[in-house]
């Protein structure tokens, strides 16, 4: 009976995700119809008026929304379990900040360091810089987690690292010219529209691999809920689990930050929504549930951002914060049992 209920919930959420995905494909500055979308999917007519629009803009935007929602939500769930802290999220370890630092160095300081022509805001350079920034912080966190046993100390160090990075970014902003600050600020606002089909082809296999890897850790994460000592007695290699978890979180967050900019709140809010809807702490359920709900959440954000303005330019970061923050407050007050 319980299993049937679970299956029904997953089916309903999947149908809702597909419906929102379709709605997201329809929303944008240019009006297209459902038949245009089906024509694109089934006939692959490259001569069609909307072929390019759907292939290079709408599909990458919709897919990136789902991938971002899933990645950030799973990352948030793992962090909350690992740190046994309901407010832990993927950006708490400073990984998003690391990516921001990479971009800040290139966009804000690039013209000083490498001359104007290097700077010229090349998307590839921005991507590489964000990747290096995220990976550097990940490396640092891994070294720290190897040396420090206390998980709370790692959390505090992560927050402090994020603070230091934010200070460095502030200094870079202070010295940068207005136009460079604007470019950087636009990046920090987050954007799903910046991704192309090529970006999607590059990002999706990485995300898929690490989502599956996260799912494979479900059993160990379940045991971690009962405390580190209990998990140890059950044969869980805590150090390895931590290293694997941090790697998964860093890669998933890093890849999304690289392509969409830093997107906040999704990673904190969605795991709570998953626990609330499925009323469980079992990671075998919560990981796929968070992936589905994360996708739904980001699609809602994207559809709303397209509804509010005719040219669909409302920053996705602002929309996710507006959507998620009240929900977190509501969860805190109304349903304390959703916490880990």
């Amino acid at each position: 009976m319980k299993k049937t209920k679970l299956t029904i919930k997953f089916i309903l959420l999947s149908v809702f995700l597909i419906f929102l995905g379709l709605l997201d494909l329809l929303s944008g500055s240019i009006q297209i119809s459902v038949s245009d979308i089906f024509n694109y999917i089934f006939s692959s007519n490259t001569e069609s008026e909307f072929y390019l629009l759907l292939k290079e803009f709408r599909f990458p935007r919709m897919s990136m929304a789902i991938l971002a929602g899933a990645s950030l939500s799973i990352s948030g769930l793992i962090m909350q379990t690992l740190f046994r802290n309901p407010l832990a999220g993927p950006d708490i370890l400073g990984i998003s900040s690391g990516a921001s630092l990479g971009v800040a160095i290139v966009v804000l300081g690039g013209s000083y360091l490498f001359g104007n022509h290097f700077y010229h805001a090349s998307n590839y350079i921005t991507l590489i810089a964000a990747g290096i920034g995220a990976a550097s912080i990940l490396g640092l966190i891994l070294i720290i987690s190897y040396k420090l046993r206390d998980i709370l100390s790692i959390l505090i160090i992560g927050i402090l690292l994020a603070g230091i990075i934010s200070a460095i970014v502030n200094i870079l902003q202070y010295f940068a010219t207005g136009i460079n600050v604007k470019s950087f600020v636009v990046w920090t606002m987050g954007s799903l529209t910046a991704s192309s089909s090529k970006d999607l082809l590059l990002a999706s296999p990485i995300i898929l691999i690490f989502v599956l890897l996260a799912f494979s850790l479900s059993k160990n994460l379940n045991l971690m809920l009962l405390g580190e000592n209990f998990a140890k007695t059950m044969g869980v290699n805590i150090k390895l689990l931590r290293i694997l978890s941090f790697t998964i979180v860093s890669i998933l967050t890093g890849v999304i930050t690289v392509y969409c900019g830093p997107i906040g709140f999704v990673g904190i809010a969605v795991p709570h929504i998953s626990r609330w809807i499925f009323n469980t702490s079992n990671h075998f359920v919560l990981i796929p549930a968070s992936a589905l709900l994360g996708g739904i959440f980001m699609l809602c954000g994207d559809i709303l951002s397209n509804l509010f303005t005719s040219n669909g330019n409302l920053p996705i970061n602002a929309i996710t914060a507006i959507l998620a923050a009240p929900f977190i407050i509501w969860v805190v007050f109304k349903n304390k049992r959703t916490f880990v």
């Binding site: 709408r58 010229h120 805001a121 900019g261 330019n313």
Partner: protein, 376 residues
């Protein structure tokens, strides 16, 4: 009791009169010298100098206008908040366009402080800076107030972006260093921006020179404009590049849109009534950019490959495949300072000639592009 009311009434009347008096910089109204194109400044000639009025589109306080009283005899002038003795001999500039205006007036030697020296294209100013005769006074949030005070300029030429930029300079005004906001960049007409040379000329007592100079530019501009072939089908023009999915395009009433129009082109966003830049969703530009003949000013790229490195979807963009791409960065220095935005402000005639050459290549005109280059 009536006596007390009488006293209060008198006090209020005196207070109001005093307040009104403080709001006026000077009661004398001079003869206004009409502008031909510029809309955001006004020159009034008075017996001992000029009253300059600058419209600030970003500041709705102070009636949206700044008043500056320029006087040959400041000692004998009536009390004023901003009185600037003229002619000035030491100035500081916060924009490279200010340098262009001053050097055109042959007063480069008066420049003692500049912002972002690495972005300056004027070779004389760069040389003086290298010799230590001109100082870097910082920019934006990094204004070096101590350096400005040590230079002790007769006037600091700034530009007002919003209310915060006004309050930023209050410190200098309090210390007796006059700050003049030059909002040439808000002018929508190319000749309107150039006409600001008259504004600068008042500080150097060279208004006649500036008027003659401007008239010659205007003549050139109008001659070039009238020589442009009138075709029924104007070439369609696209401008700029996207960044992170947003394509910032000049408004339909902007400075550059007017240039395109005067050069006989059809700007694809001309129906947009804005005079400043507008952020459009990249897919909107993709859909609108059909049958584009020319793609201009793609930021500061030098090759088509660099365009793709900004957004690889531009590979499928029709103008990328079919349009001729030209950028205005032929006179760009190593640090990225672009002379188009410096000396170009005073040479709209040359820019128009460049655009005419680009748009109407079949015509018999032979002109080597000055600010523009083709991107391949």
């Amino acid at each position: 009791m009536k006596f007390i009311y009488f006293l209060i009434f008198n006090f209020l009347v005196l207070f109001l009169l005093n307040s009104c008096n403080n709001q006026h910089i000077k009661t004398e109204e001079g003869q206004t010298i009409p502008n031909k194109y510029a809309t955001d400044f006004e020159i009034q000639e008075i017996s001992d100098g000029y009253i300059l009025k600058v419209k600030n589109r970003f500041d709705q306080t102070n009636s949206g206008t700044y008043n500056y009283y320029l006087s040959y005899e400041p000692e004998s002038s009536p009390n004023s908040n901003v009185t600037i003795p003229i002619p000035v001999s030491k100035v500081a500039c916060l924009s490279t366009s200010h340098i262009a205006f001053i050097s055109t007036l042959n007063k480069t030697s008066s420049i003692k402080g500049i912002s972002t020296p690495e972005l300056v294209c004027n070779s004389d100013v760069s040389k003086l800076y290298a010799q230590g005769k001109i100082y870097n006074i910082g920019y934006d949030n990094q204004i070096n107030y101590e350096k400005i005070i040590s230079i002790s300029p007769d006037v600091v030429f700034a530009f007002g972006v919003d209310n915060t930029s006004v309050s930023k300079f209050q410190k200098l005004t309090d210390l007796g260093i006059p700050v003049v906001f030059v909002n040439d960049f808000t002018e929508a007409k190319p000749l309107g921006r150039s006409e600001w040379i008259k504004f600068f000329a008042c500080f150097y007592d060279k208004l006649n020179f500036a008027t003659e100079y401007f008239d010659s530019i205007e003549n050139n501009y109008l001659n070039i404009k009238s020589s442009i072939p009138q075709t029924t089908e104007k070439p369609k023009v696209l401008v700029s590049l996207p960044w992170k999915g947003t394509w910032w395009v000049p408004g339909g009433n902007s400075f550059f849109a007017n240039f395109i129009n005067d050069a006989g082109g059809e700007y694809i966003f001309s129906n947009n009534n804005h005079s400043d830049s507008q952020g459009l969703n990249i897919e909107e530009v993709f859909a609108k950019a059909k049958n584009i003949s020319f793609w201009l000013n793609p930021n500061n790229v030098n090759t088509k490959t660099e365009i793709l490195s900004i957004d690889n979807r531009l590979e499928f963009f029709e103008p990328y495949k079919t349009a001729k791409i030209y950028n205005n960065n032929l006179k760009e220095n190593q640090a990225g300072g672009n002379d188009f935005w410096e000396s170009g402000i005073l040479h709209p005639d040359i820019i128009l000639l460049d655009l005419k050459t680009i748009f109407h290549q079949d015509s018999t005109n032979i002109h080597n592009l000055y600010y523009y280059k083709q991107i391949n």
